[in-house]
């Protein structure tokens, strides 16, 4: 049983616990700090990825097309909303005018 012999030896060694490295805590924290510093902020990371996509011709074309489509869609909503409001106002004014022509004159004394 050679494996058991090795294990026995190791267990015997383990009983002589070595003194812990006094610099251990400092080294662990240094490594954590170094790791934190090397990592980029999330926003920069995303922007870089997005920037990479845009640097490709297909990505750039897709982005510009999306912007154009977005511009047209917003303009369409704007036109639709304003047209509806304007139409309602004109219709209201027209009917008001027609009704005022059917109603008796409300003459006022102007001096």
């Amino acid at each position: 049983m050679p494996d058991k012999d090795k294990l026995d030896l190791l267990l015997e060694d383990w009983q002589d616990t070595p003194e812990p490295d006094p610099q251990l805590t400092h080294r662990v924290w240094s490594r954590i700090a170094a790791d934190d510093n090397s990592r980029e902020p999330l926003t920069t990371n995303w922007f870089n990825r997005f920037s990479n996509i845009l640097s490709r011709p297909l990505g750039a074309a897709a982005f510009v097309t999306a912007c154009v489509v977005c511009g047209i869609t917003i303009a369409q909503f704007r036109v639709s909303y304003e047209k509806q409001a304007r139409t309602d106002q004109l219709a209201h004014d027209y009917i008001q005018l027609i009704k005022s022509q059917q109603d008796p004159i409300d003459t006022e004394v102007t001096r």
Binding site: S51, S55, G71
Partner: protein, 150 residues
């Protein structure tokens, strides 16, 4: 990175230009022309271009009649103002003149009402029954809203 920012700027500018062009092309009219003022009829009643042209022409033809009626109203107002001035200055009411004014006002009211009714009938005659129905519904809805509002 620099190229990315350029593409983003280009996209935003392209989007804004397209938005502006589309809006300028399709925005609702804002001028005081008869065509613009009556554009709502075409939208509300789904008039054909021929019907719309006829409606605009009818309104244009009515302008002289409207001006004449307006002049008569101004004349009546001036008449009433003169009567009122006489009442205040001379402390006297000319009942004969006032009766004449009232008669004239009643006649003018009748003329205006019949003129408007016949004009509406004339405009209605070029519409389909469905369009006429919608037009009358609009007038009724307005009457209801003003009755409730007052």
């Amino acid at each position: 990175m620099k190229r990315g920012i350029s593409i983003i700027s280009l996209g935003l500018i392209a989007g804004l230009i397209t938005h502006g062009l589309y809006y300028q092309t399709f925005k609702p009219c804002e001028d005081e022309t008869l065509e613009c003022q009556l554009s709502w009829i075409q939208d509300y009643l789904s008039l054909t271009p021929d019907q719309y042209e006829l409606v605009v022409a009818m309104h244009r033809d009515r302008q002289p009649e409207i001006s004449a009626l307006e002049n008569q109203i101004h004349s009546l107002e001036a008449q009433l103002a003169a009567l009122e001035e006489e009442r205040i200055e001379n402390d006297r009411i000319d009942f004969i003149a006032f009766y004449g004014y009232l008669q004239e006002k009643v006649n003018l009211d009748k003329t205006r009402e019949s003129s408007t009714d016949s004009f509406l009938a004339k405009v209605g005659s070029i519409m389909s029954s469905d369009q006429q129905e919608r037009f009358n519904d609009m007038i009724r809805a307005y009457e209801v809203s003003t009755t409730q509002g007052s």
